[in-house]
């Protein structure tokens, strides 16, 4: 049994049953899962969670679906890594990286897909579908294969090669659409009306999908010894992840898993070529103006973010900030994280790290805060973004002489660093 009491419209409050519904019939507002928090509080304990699987399913009490055998490739419980070298480069104090590159298909999307497809299967769906900027495509195709479901994945035609391959290999149907992600998304929203028997994870089962991102907050708190951090930095595409991370910390407090009421500043990270939320934040407005994306951070290239308004609200009400970074800064961010901490992130991770650096330099993130940065996707997925940016130090003939010729000066520094 799960602890879901129903669905509710975030805009007008109308109630709905816990079915494959995502939009309020009356005002088109998003539906959100509601829980019986008292019942959850009466069963959930730190020990019960700690005795659970090393995956998102250890938090099943706080998820919208329970299943003895969920659709699962092992998403979640990824490393939380103390990042002292990066912190000192940025003038920060206690900094942690939530390394979600370690998920089964290499991004945080495995969290939301495992939840969405477990619920979809319970609701009787046999087909998993999605509109994707790439990472969701990988994850839906893989989880559908794992569950023996058919998959129908729609992507913009110009995605990174690795993301196309990592979707197609699972053998489902993959459709490349000549258009932007926002075009793909509109097409899928329309297809949902025509194909009600398909579970579009980020359309008609989006209500459940979105809840999966709360596990990022749950894990961070548990890994910090059941304490919330002071500040988190989260990349924004649709704005769903950021909104749910903020919700996750609140829920832990609500069900009695934290000793102190959390006060987590939530800051958002966007690429300058697709920054509708950062722009609204900077301008101090409520209205999110859609944009036509143009950035190497393709996984975040959503010009018309469905949860943009809620993300903005979560940022403002928590005292967080929001900024955007150029493509050059994104590449610097990828390099900085790799060089200082040994973690290779995709372009979305570069956005997060570059924004972290920018907000630290502005003083919006302070050295006296315990900070967590969400690094949400693996670098191999977008390796082509680094073509011509990184490569061999030298290309030489296989002789001692050419080795010495090419590296002579550098050898001295390497040696002296070792003896010092």
């Amino acid at each position: 049994m799960d602890f879901v009491s129903g669905l509710r419209c975030r805009e007008c409050g109308r109630g709905y049953p816990a079915e494959a519904l995502h939009v309020c019939d009356f005002c088109f507002g998003p539906l959100e899962v509601t829980y019986d928090y008292e019942k959850i509080a009466s069963v959930v304990t730190r020990e019960r969670i700690e005795a659970g699987p090393r995956s998102i399913w250890r938090y099943a009490d706080l998820l919208p679906v329970h299943d003895a055998a969920p659709v699962d490739l092992g998403a979640g419980f990824t490393p939380l890594v103390r990042a002292d070298r990066l912190a000192s480069e940025l003038g920060l104090g206690e900094l942690w990286i939530k390394d979600d590159t370690a998920n089964p298909t290499g991004s945080f999307k495995d969290r939301v897909v495992s939840v969405a497809l477990t619920k979809a299967r319970q609701l009787g769906f046999k087909v998993a579908a999605c509109a994707s900027t790439g990472n969701l495509a990988n994850s839906v195709a893989a989880h559908a294969a794992r569950a023996g479901m058919d998959s129908i994945v729609l992507i913009p035609h110009d995605l990174e090669r690795a993301k196309v391959t990592m979707t197609a290999v699972y053998g489902g149907t993959l459709v490349a659409v000549e258009g932007s992600y926002d075009d793909v998304n509109r097409l899928c929203a329309e297809l949902t009306s025509e194909q009600p028997d398909w579970a579009f994870v980020n359309v008609n089962v989006r209500t459940y999908y979105a809840e999966g991102s709360k596990t990022l907050a749950f894990e961070v708190a548990e890994q910090l010894g059941w304490q919330a951090p002071d500040h988190v930095v989260v990349p924004i595409g649709s704005g769903s992840q950021l909104t749910k991370v903020a919700k996750g910390f609140r829920e832990l407090w609500q069900v009695g898993l934290l000793d102190e009421e959390p006060s987590v500043r939530v800051s958002g990270a966007q690429a300058e070529g697709c920054s509708p939320v950062a722009t609204a934040f900077a301008e101090g407005t409520d209205a999110i103006r859609p944009v036509k994306p143009n950035t190497i951070a393709k996984s975040l290239a959503i010009g018309n973010p469905a949860d943009g308004w809620y993300a903005l609200d979560a940022i403002r009400s928590s005292g967080g900030s929001c900024a955007s970074v150029t493509d050059a800064e994104v590449l610097d961010g990828i390099g900085l994280l790799a060089r200082t901490e040994g973690i290779f992130a995709e372009t979305a991770g570069g956005v997060t790290i570059a924004t972290l650096a920018k907000l630290a330099a502005q003083g919006a993130i302070r050295a006296d805060e315990r900070v967590v940065a969400m690094v949400t996707g693996h670098g191999l997925k977008t390796a082509e973004a680094l073509t011509g940016v990184v490569g061999p130090t030298a290309t030489i003939a296989p002789t001692l002489e050419s080795f010495g010729d090419a590296l002579g000066d550098q050898l001295n520094t390497i040696r002296s660093q070792r003896s010092s």
């Binding site: 998003p30 509109r186 929203a189 329309e190 704005g239 036509k292 949860d307």
Partner: protein
Amino acid sequence: MTTVRIPAQLRTLTAGAGELSIDGSTVGEVLVALDGAHAGFAERLFDESGGLRRFVNVFVDEEDVRFLDGLATPLTPGQTISIVPAVAGG
């Protein structure tokens, strides 16, 4: 005539029809005429100030009207308007 595509959530207003033909020279005119033909559309699509609700997206031939002229966007015969819930994706 403009073809208007109706999302599943609003087909209770159209006796199940997913597509209608409506007259009008702008997007706003067509949507108002739609409400005239099938009462209930206006209160769902428009907020108190008469603009589109925050979670309603309207497209003319695949282009979001917010990149065009909003409700004042002019129409030529044969174009298609899609009403699409904004809550999707990511």
